[in-house]
Amino acid sequence: MENFASLLHGFQIALTTHHVALMMAGVLLGILVGVLPGLGAPNGVSLMLPLTFSMDPVSAIILLTSLYWGALFGGSTTSILFNIPGEPSSVATTFDGHPMAKQGRATEALSFAFLSAGFGAMAGVILITLLSGWVARFALKFSSPEYFAVYFMTFASFVGLGGASPFKTIVSMAMGFAFASIGMDSVSGNVRLTYEFDVLLAGVSFLIAVIGLFGIGELLQTMEEGLRFEGVKAKVSPRDVLATALKLPRYWLALLRSSIIGIWMGITPGGPTAASFMSYAMAKRSSRNPEKFGKGEPEGVISPETADHAAGSSAMLPMLALGIPGSATAAVMMGGLMIWGLNPGPMLFVERPDFVWGLIASMYLGNVVAVIVVLATVPLFASILRIPFSIIGPAIVVVCFIGAYTVGNKAFDIWLALAFGIVGYLFKKLDYPIAPLVLAMVIGDKAEDAFRQSMIFSQGSLSIFWSNPLVASLMAIGLALLLFPLIGSTRRGIRKLVTARAAKA
């Protein structure tokens, strides 16, 4: 109840004309940086940071977090329309979002994505409001073995997913791990796989891989297929947005499940990208018609989007209460907090309640503002598909390369994006899945670090993954997720064999 009173006070702070105007500006800027692949939320926030030095901390954080929400929304737009994720966390949205757009259902896909994203974000903020103290204490229980167990769960839920052949999935994932290990290794302090090329020292950013594999790869394929986007003739009317909104409650189970997965991955160190992948995998597994997934199933859009945003907003809690940045964007914001003279940590809630609760209140308002603003832009974005490919195609190429350059201000990254584009094209031609590669690049090095830190903790004994109830149950869930599909398919195989024999006899 005490939290509730603080929240009302927070609303008083956040609900001034000045702050609401900042939210609008932040969301619009965020959508812009989110739509441009590569120029994601972390870049947007670092670009804005110097402007906030002269602001008071509450206004500054409202501007930056609104920009973050906007970027998360913008990232899904390009996933759906062009199969080019603006952010790595919207990769899973392409699986069904883009097929929907191709079938002429772009408005529906976009509306589903934004509405469910708003729902997920709300679920995350409500959790922060009600359980901030408890969650902060719970997160302290996490050490390297628990981190590894969370990453393991994510990979496990994805490996047995099916679709492509398991062998191809593993090849793709292994390539992702290899790319993730390039550069300085923080556990040993040695440089790996750079072959003394200085440009590789900082590693290969997964943002570059996403731009190349999806953006350039998609364009190469479109060019081969006849220089036009399918589904161009889609009718766009604002009424479709409302109609879609009315359909949303039907998917209450997906919304609920994805929110829980998202919140869980947000407060543990999984992060939004892992959350969206895992949520998609769980949706497909628990669906009655999994064969519809990947062909334009609305649930395949709703699940990753809800989880992505639930994770994005609940990840703010570890940042504020523990000083651990849950994402790259959170790391930039934490730098900002320190420059404004605040120390993130357990006492921030006690020392600066005006700041913390002002921020939390602004998360409620900011997300409502964001949903309204992005929904208003749906008809606009959906009609981009009507522009002839000969105009939009080159524009996308330019945006992709600008994005690739912005990631690290390196010209080399442009070539790298091009190389990844060719890899992406070959992957599609040879029917290899791209998503496992992206997933392994995003959390592969973190999983590796967590595993090796655990090994240092235990001096080389694997028993550390069963050493306390928390890590043991996480590992057990992970193993179950990995083995269930196997058991399922063996059982089906045996049954087939048995019926075949019975038929013979």
Partner: protein, 331 residues
Amino acid sequence: MKRFCIAAGAALASVIAAVVPAAAWQPTKPIEFVVTSGPGGGTDNFARIVQSIITKHKLIEQPVVVLNKGGGSGAEGYIYGKGAKGDAHKVVFGTNNAYLLPYVAKLGYKFSDLTPVSALALDEFLIWVKGDAPYADAKAYVEAAKAKPGSLKMAGSQSKDTDQTLTAMIQEATGAKWIYVPFQGGGAAATQLAGGHVDSNTNNPNENIGQWKAGQVKPLCVFSPVRLAKSDPVHDGKGWGDIPTCKEAGLPLEAFQMPRTVWLPAEVPADAVAFYADVMEKVSKTPEWAEFIARTAQTARFMKGKEFTDFVAKDEAANAKVFKSEGWVVN
């Protein structure tokens, strides 16, 4: 109107010329501040504070842009500096890693690829244990570590970097032995200690202040020749100035501090070095800088010219000795 503008411009220019003592070198285009850490890291905060002070007090006429190049523990930024040979519009911000990194990893730059400009502060290192740990002082903790060799855990950020070097120095000086666990940064090392997963860390004040305020961790001693500056109480009536130095606490270790440094690429005009050293000196005298130093409990110490290069030579020798005895040297 046009004539008025020209006149005003000329007047303004003469005013500026009068204020700035005719320095031989002036920036003629926007300046890049190259940060050798990721966003949110200690070096990032350092560079951005300097940027905000320069902007606020208009110490440089040209705009200043901050670029993060933190790959390879910061080597990416120094290699970028090497590539900008002769370009005095690129200023590299770092720590002592500028001259220490080439010892422990095969990298594409040498220390001679950089021109020293100045140092603005020394960041401090402390031994921190969990808030409810039974150790009253540093001596007691080291004795406990000696009693169970190789079982207590010391957390730090990165590998073969300052935290691990300091741990090696303490081991060398006391004969105790820890398991060193490298994390991605000081923030992770702080939460791991607060959660009780490790027994201690050697974080900078700023990395642990949040946890100390909450009483989740407590400092035992600081590796500084003198006690830190007096401050408001942080937790339980104790402030930074109340922490004993490790020497006082009975550890035979002189001091361990990390300079916050500024560099230029090689082969830049000497006047450009003087220009930036002058700007940094002005920054170090602003109230905003004093406030930043106090808030992060660092020690303010401006060094330029010979004083700075002497400091670097001494610090390099002390660290290189540890690298050699630990077998980390690659070249």
